[in-house]
């Protein structure tokens, strides 16, 4: 069987603050590119059809499922993965610490995606109601924790960042 001609394209984007360029197969998803070309393995391959949210990354500040985003579309975009939340000396960000403190992590597979969606929520500077927060987090599946601890981690960090007292 004759080998088909493969189509490649040069993609330049900013990943976690650094400008990066690579040649990608046009068939690749953004998940493929981030994991295979850049070894950013916090970007998990879950359902690969945009249902579970494990592959979530921020593109120009908005949360996207990177599994249903073509790698070539990333050209010119600013991408943040979980690795981008690490401080200069390896410190955890406030939301990551909150996930630990609230036991919002068990197996950890959904955590990178959840944390990036949480980052978008927290960076908006809006104080959301519980219902709004639940809806904003609804694009992620977690099969371990039952969501409550994750919800609490995001809620507590939201109140903390806004300097408000958590209602009891």
């Amino acid at each position: 069987m004759a080998e088909e001609l493969r189509q490649y394209k040069q993609v330049t984007c900013t990943i976690n603050g650094k400008k990066r360029t690579t040649m990608v197969d046009v068939r690749a998803s953004l998940t493929d590119m981030l994991r295979n070309d850049y070894r950013l393995t916090s970007v998990k391959k879950g359902c690969e059809v945009g249902e579970c949210g494990a592959c979530t990354v921020l593109i120009d500040g908005e949360a996207f499922d990177s599994c249903i985003y073509l790698a070539v579309w990333a050209d010119g975009k600013e991408i943040i993965t979980l690795e981008g939340l690490e401080g200069p000396n390896g410190e955890l960000s406030d939301i990551q610490q909150a996930f630990i403190d609230e036991t919002a992590i068990q197996c950890g597979f959904c955590s990178p995606g959840f944390i990036l969606t949480a980052k978008e929520i927290l960076d908006s500077g809006v104080l959301y109601t519980d219902d709004e927060l639940r809806k904003l987090l609804s694009g992620h599946l977690c099969r371990c924790t039952g969501y409550e601890n994750i919800f609490q981690a995001v809620k507590k960090t939201m109140y903390k960042r806004l300097g408000k007292k958590l209602p009891t």
Binding site: R27, S29, V49, G50, A63, F64, I68, T117, L136, G139
Partner: protein, 295 residues
């Protein structure tokens, strides 16, 4: 890796038209939240794609000089929901698209893709039908405008001819001025769900808020394509607001709809939904318009 034979990336609308003419077998990919899923399923093996995703000229919502609201076809659901014009004039459309999938799907999903996909369950479609939206199509012969009711030709089939792509959705001033609407999506869960049946109703009330100057009722998943309940609208238009009118809507719509049995729900359940959702959406729309239904 997706099973894609070739990807042609359009750099402008004209370039997209040219690519579509050069590759007549190619499919258009906008946000990809339908197309890429089908590729993953294997039902589009070795597909050729014309990508229009990077055409930023097709993004955004503007109000034209004559008051028409113009929604660029690549505008994402989340941007439509957050848009001040939409919130002010057609908030029901913002609410409807905020029920699509989950947050990340709403970031990638486009209103153009939602309508061009041609499925009856599209959350945007019933509200667009309910507001007499018009579809702007650009092709080799230039731009043409098509009412949304004529745009849907059948299941998964829309009126896009060779070389054509949808470039905007237009809602005329007379279609939204004075109208208030409500959309109800019925599903088994709140997020990541496809509507079992959806109903979008809008009303225009008389000055004293007692009479229905106009009513428009539209459905998703009540027929093979999104529909309007035209016979019901005709019978109810001009009537005084009352509980009887609401009940009458619930009965009459059954003549307008033709839902089917599917693995998601039976025809019987959908008939009940068509009736109940119309009554509830009507009541909410009347409330939003400042009217009251006694009883």
């Amino acid at each position: 890796m997706y099973d894609i034979k070739a990807l042609y990336e359009a750099t402008s609308v004209d370039h997209a038209v040219q690519l579509l003419l050069e590759h007549p077998q190619a499919l258009i990919i906008a946000g990809g939240s339908d197309v890429l899923i089908k590729i993953r399923e294997g039902s589009l093996a070795k597909v050729e794609l014309v990508s229009i995703y990077k055409l930023d000229a097709l993004r955004g919502i503007t109000k034209e000089a004559d008051g028409t609201i113009r929604i660029g076809s690549l505008t994402s659901f989340s941007h439509i929901h957050a848009d001040p014009y939409i919130q002010k004039h057609i908030d029901v459309l913002g609410d409807a698209v905020n029920m699509v999938g989950g947050p990340q799907i709403r970031a990638i999903g486009t209103i153009g893709g939602n309508t061009c996909n041609g499925v009856t369950s599209a959350d945007s479609a019933s509200t667009l039908f309910a507001y007499d939206a018009e579809i702007e199509i650009t092709g080799p012969e230039g731009v043409r405008i098509c009412p949304i009711s004529k745009f849907y030709l059948g299941v998964g089939k829309v009126d896009l001819r060779p070389g054509e792509l949808q470039t905007a959705i237009l809602i005329r001033k007379e279609s939204y001025t004075g109208y208030k609407g409500h959309y109800i999506k019925y599903g088994m869960r709140n997020a990541m769900e496809i509507a079992t049946t959806g109903c979008s109703v809008n009303v225009k009330l008389s000055q004293d808020k007692k009479t229905l100057k106009d009513i428009r009722i539209a459905y998703g998943v009540a027929a093979p394509i999104p529909i309007r309940a035209l016979k019901t609208e005709e019978a109810i238009r001009g009537r005084k607001l009352s509980a009887e009118v609401r009940e009458e809507i619930g009965r009459l719509v059954l003549e307008d709809v033709t839902p089917r049995n599917s693995w998601r729900a039976s025809r019987d359940l959908r008939l009940q939904l068509c009736s109940t959702l119309a009554m509830r959406a009507f009541e909410e729309a009347v409330k939003k318009a400042g009217g009251e239904i006694d009883g």
